[in-house]
Amino acid sequence: MSRATAAGLARGAAFAAAAIAFPFVFNAAWIVNIGVLTLMYAALATAWNLFSGYTGYITLGQAAFFGLGAYTLGIVFEHVGIGSGYNPFYALPLVGAGIAIASVPVAWIALRTRHMTFAIVTLTLLFIVQQLAFNLRSLTKGSSGLMLPTPSFPISSYDTPFYLAMLAILLAGLALCWLILRSKLGLMLLAIREDEEKARGLGIRVTGAKLIAWSLMVWLSAMVGGVWAYYLTFIYPESSVDPLVMIGAVLMTFLGGRGTLWGPTIGALVLVPAQQYMITKLGASQLYLVGYSAVFMVVLLLLPRGILPSLRSAIDKQRERRRTHREPIVREEARA
């Protein structure tokens, strides 16, 4: 095992241990509640980054799959019965996989477009799913919303199972990103992000690689939506297919550093608690959004590439300065 691999695994293990311990140490319901939201956004941002950060295809439709996950779980509860307590969590990977597979044909068509067009095309997915939620009343109960059974967790630690479920999805997402970034699939995705036409000319199977990354993004997002629905026990179209949720996740990714492993998580750890704080301070007037955008103005001005890449290049520069006997990089073309 290389040193970088060992350090990466150690970092992951430390994060997992700290995150698992958190709700047992700080067990006040309101703190765990913020924890659930933070992990939810971290998982969504990580999922978004897995596709958009690595391939360069910016999707604005992620909330559609979050909503599909939420509604699918709700509908499955109504019609199939998947038990109570922890049991629904175990059904989530399957629910997510079903949605991911169903989304592949849509993605295959959407991926024929690029850049802004792709962003807009995927944004319409979001509104299509929302309209379906409004109008397929026999399944979704339309705008009156869908009720899920309230799980029988003890009141004192009611939030903890949801916290752990969100954490499990986040860790799965991080593990996937880590695997992908060090693999040939990751190299393919980065090549696509850098220059897709060139990648095609080299024989890189761009469509397959993009579809794999897309399905993983959908799988994770749908599972997050499912946990969220079970947590709230009541979902309706505006809240479960909410552009603001997705914009939050995207902005967190930009804040932390897109294309990195930890960037989205770091972005969520910074922003969600700040957002919750502003909501309590400024009330439900949505004035918190103003504070939100102020944070982003600062980030865009000071750290345009995000926290992690900015930190990394600062560290690199420091090292460069220390290395006195460094061989100069020869930029001349020819070696005499």
Binding site: K184, M188, A191, G201, L202, G203, R205, A209, I329
Partner: protein, 244 residues
């Protein structure tokens, strides 16, 4: 002359009212360095784009390695051994030179979760980079290279997958004379080892030294085809391209 590795028959492409390539036919015999020359706008790059599947032809047939290519597609053509470079050198700027090289290895899906750069792949990449005089920059970001070095890297990278035919689009454009010599030498060496080339090139001295046969295009149609000497003395070619 040996059998044709690539055969183009009646290739046509129109852009609105402009016919960029018009009923163009030529062949690239196996084991040759075939040159495609002609004045600017004569359809050379368009022909490249049609052959490699970056554009869909309006008419015409393409045969590669004896099989007809019905719907040319860059990915599958590259995986069958027909690969290309671009007029403006294209590399993956954020990746290192070694990553650029290894990304060009056409991997099967079952290798997708293997380490991005495995030991033997790094060795192979370094060998090729050494041949192209880039080995000492192996860990650099490709974006840090000079333009000429990017051209070399692009050329080296397409060799990673052991192609049968390499289409070089102006391999020496914007490159200093020393590098031109190096690129020429690489083409000669690789050709001696059996690799076939089709190159678009404006440096006629280089073409005359390196290529046989030479195909001359003008207004999207083939004007002449033959040995460099014959082509050079063809009055139509003199008139259209080389000047009297």
């Amino acid at each position: 002359m040996s059998a044709a590795l690539l055969e183009i028959e009646g290739l046509t492409k129109r852009f609105g009212g402009v016919t960029a390539v018009s009923d163009c036919s030529f062949a690239v015999p196996e084991g040759t360095v075939t040159a495609l020359v002609g004045p600017n706008g004569s359809g050379k790059t368009t022909a490249f784009n049609l052959i490699t599947g970056y554009m869909r032809a309006d008419a015409g047939t393409i045969r590669f390695a004896g099989a007809s290519v019905r719907r040319p597609n860059p990915v599958s053509l590259a995986r069958h051994g027909l690969t290309r470079t671009f007029q403006q050198a294209r590399v993956f700027p954020e990746l290192t030179l070694v990553q650029n090289m290894v990304a060009a290895l056409q991997q099967p899906w079952r290798a997708a979760l293997q380490r991005a750069v495995r030991k033997h792949e790094r060795t192979r990449a370094l060998e090729l980079l050494e041949e192209f005089g880039l080995a000492r920059l192996a860990g650099e970001r490709a974006g840090n290279l000079s333009y000429g070095q990017k051209k070399l890297l692009e050329f080296a990278a397409v060799l990673m997958a052991d192609p049968r035919l390499v289409l070089l689009d102006e391999p020496t454009a914007g490159v200093n004379p020393l590098l031109v010599e190096q690129i020429e030498q690489r083409i000669r060496d690789l050709n001696a080892r059996g690799l076939t080339f089709l190159l678009v090139e404006h440096n006629m001295n280089l073409v005359m030294r390196l290529s046989d046969p030479v195909v001359v295009l003008d207004h999207g149609t083939k004007l002449a085809e033959g040995k460099p000497d014959e082509v050079r003395n063809d009055p139509r070619v003199l008139d259209a391209y080389l000047g009297g």
